[in-house]
Amino acid sequence: MTFIPTIVGVILITYIIAYLIPTDPVRAWVGGEKLLNPEALERVRKKYKFDAPWYEQFTFLTYMLFTGQLDDPIKRVKVIQELSFRFPITFELAIFGFIFSALIGIPLGIISALRKDTIIDFFVRFFAFFGSSMPSFVLYYFLILALFVMAKTTYLAGVPRPSTTCYAYISSLPSSFPIIGHLLFYVGQIPLFGSMMCGEWNIVWETAKRFYLPGLALGLLNGGFIARIVRNSLLDALSSDYVLFAKARGLPKRWVWNHAFKNALVPLVTVLGLQFGGLLSGAVIAETVFNIPGMGRFMYDSIIRLNFPAIIAGTFLFALVYVTVNLIVDILYALIDPRIRY
């Protein structure tokens, strides 16, 4: 229950930032100084209660947000609609980034823990430093140069989506299956999973082709860090008393490994969970360079255009993601480590 003040506080911070702006956002929404129509200005101002005191505005915006009626003042759609278009794409990017960083990080970490103080270990350490010191946009440019311009193995425009019949099928799911149907409906909103559910494998292939490059870039940046965590926690576990005891008892190597790996898993789960949460809250620069219309790009555009309803909805979603990821990580702890009880 401690997360409710966090969420409310995050929305409040956004609101305070909005109040810091000395210009009038409504003027920007109705078309700047040249196209200014006083009547429209007054109407929009009344609609978003900009003439009311701040607490009334705040409660109005929050109420409209929770009931899903908040209009985007620039794009003339509901903000919720815009978010439900953007968030699945970010989720897709996060999945690819997550898979790549786990694929790069975990094996490297295990190898360097096994071959401690060798050239492989040195290479992994250097790789981790490299990942944390590389300016992300430079790496993105060079991956684009190598894999898009030279090798021509990917494309960088648009996001593949399943066909309309597939969407019709997904939206019919809640009526045919009572509880699981709702869940499947929300999962199906993510284009990758939606096309998997309908069996449109060519869309899946196209998605993989579109997203593997940004995923690889995020994986290269984060993988070194994960490798270091895996290495350190595995070394800790391998040098502990129970592993020594297991070895002394003459247990098979695989069992010893099982013991060590299970205990090394706890910090790994934390890091992976936080990484996934970080990816979900929008890799702004990756989305800018790779031209992906996700949440980070959406927030950036909204902030630049002073689009407050969109900013507040987006921050609400981010806070929700943060809280959910932390909750899932806590649950996973309890599953992995029986000593932890809540």
């Binding site: 995050v10 930032i17 300016p135």
Partner: protein, 370 residues
């Protein structure tokens, strides 16, 4: 190599001790164990190759950042391509006849190498200001929260949670968009501050509207920076404050601030110093990212991230050298701080320091026996 570094560092420590001795007689006698510990730290540092490479990189980049604008042979506001069109986006070339840019030119015909010298100063000043101003804020709030406890702790930690729940880059984008207007007003009313900051960033007075954008970038970074420190400081204060020496200080009737700054802080400062070293790298990269997104200064200020974002328009055929050169400089700055931080973590950790000492003693014993 490591021998000479150790000799240099221990000479510096001796010099410092002697100067303290001159001010107050008996200082060395009183602090002999402290000096020995420092020398051991210097020894531990000089044994780590990672630390030596990092220290070297940091030394070079900081020196270039300080001296760069004075040795730079081109002014950043000199748009040479206007009069000499053949300088427009010229690729790198190597010749000894002069008049041939080693790292190529940008779309204004400016020499990239000369611009990098300005850009390093800007990056360095921003990262330094972020850490120097943001870290003490986090430390003070964390000390307050951890030591006082109760309702202050609860409120401060809830605020910290909110800032951590918010994605840092997006929060700083928001502040960087909002703040320039306010900062411009502040600069208008304080001309002395403005001149000082212009000197710090090595910009000419005409760029003072750009200064607001630069300042907003680093204010945005400070605002997102302190929560991490507040949380860590609070955690370590909670574990230290129950120990008997704090109780003794309290029963002697020392004031809260004296206890906090003289007795608590020295016991928890070393992990914070290590984190600050890492964060100099992160701040450099984040500031470059913000100006890459177009939130920092605009033309003609040669900020590294902004130069890369402009070069991105012509990438790769007509601007690969800009991306490579500026990217490498950013990489080297960040790599230096990261390597140095990694070495300092081992140096400041008493356990690894002891291990290094024992190893060295064993080695010297062995050699003595032979």
């Amino acid at each position: 190599m490591s021998e000479s570094v150790y000799n240099l560092l221990s000479k510096i420590i001796d010099l410092y001790a002697k100067s303290r001795e001159k001010v107050k007689y008996g200082w060395i006698q009183k602090n002999i164990s402290k000096i020995n510990e420092w020398k051991l730290m210097a020894y531990a540092y000089s044994r780590s190759y990672i630390g030596l490479v990092g220290g070297f990189l940091v030394l070079i980049t900081v020196l270039l950042a300080i001296l760069g604008p004075y040795v730079s042979w081109e002014e950043y506001w000199d748009y040479r391509a206007v009069l000499e069109p053949d300088l427009y986006l010229r690729p790198p070339c190597l010749s000894f006849t002069g008049n041939c840019p080693l790292l190529g030119t940008d779309e204004w015909g400016r020499d990239i190498l000369a611009m990098i010298l300005y850009g390093m100063r800007i990056s360095f000043v921003i990262s330094l200001l972020v850490v120097v101003l943001g870290v003490p804020l986090g430390i003070i709030l964390g000390l307050m929260a951890g030591y006082k406890g109760g309702i202050i702790d609860e409120i401060l930690m809830r605020i910290t949670d909110m800032f951590i729940a918010f994605p840092g880059l997006i929060l700083s984008i928001a502040f960087a968009t909002v703040l320039p207007e306010r900062i411009r007003g502040l600069l208008d009313t304080h001309p002395a501050l403005r001149d000082f900051l212009l000197g710090l960033f090595a910009l000419r007075p005409q760029e003072y509207s750009q200064l607001a954008a630069l300042l907003s970038v680093f204010s945005a970074l400070i605002i997102v920076w302190w929560p991490g420190y507040a949380r860590i400081v609070r955690g370590s204060v909670l574990s230290v404050k129950e120990q008997t020496f704090i109780e003794a200080a309290r029963s002697l009737g020392l004031s809260t601030w004296r206890i906090l700054l003289k007795h608590l802080l020295p016991n928890i400062i070393s992990p914070i110093l290590v984190m600050a070293t890492f964060d100099l790298a992160t701040a450099t990269l984040l500031a470059a990212s913000l100006s890459f997104l177009g939130l920092g200064p605009q033309d003609p200020v040669p900020e590294l991230g902004f130069m890369i974002s402009k070069a991105g328009l012509y990438f790769p055929e007509r601007s690969w050298w800009i991306v490579i050169a500026d990217g490498t400089v950013l990489l080297l700055i960040a790599l230096g701080w990261n390597l140095l931080g990694d070495a300092l973590r081992d140096v400041f950790d008493p356990r690894t320091r002891r291990a290094i000492e024992v190893k060295a003693r064993a080695k010297s014993l062995k050699e003595g026996k032979k």
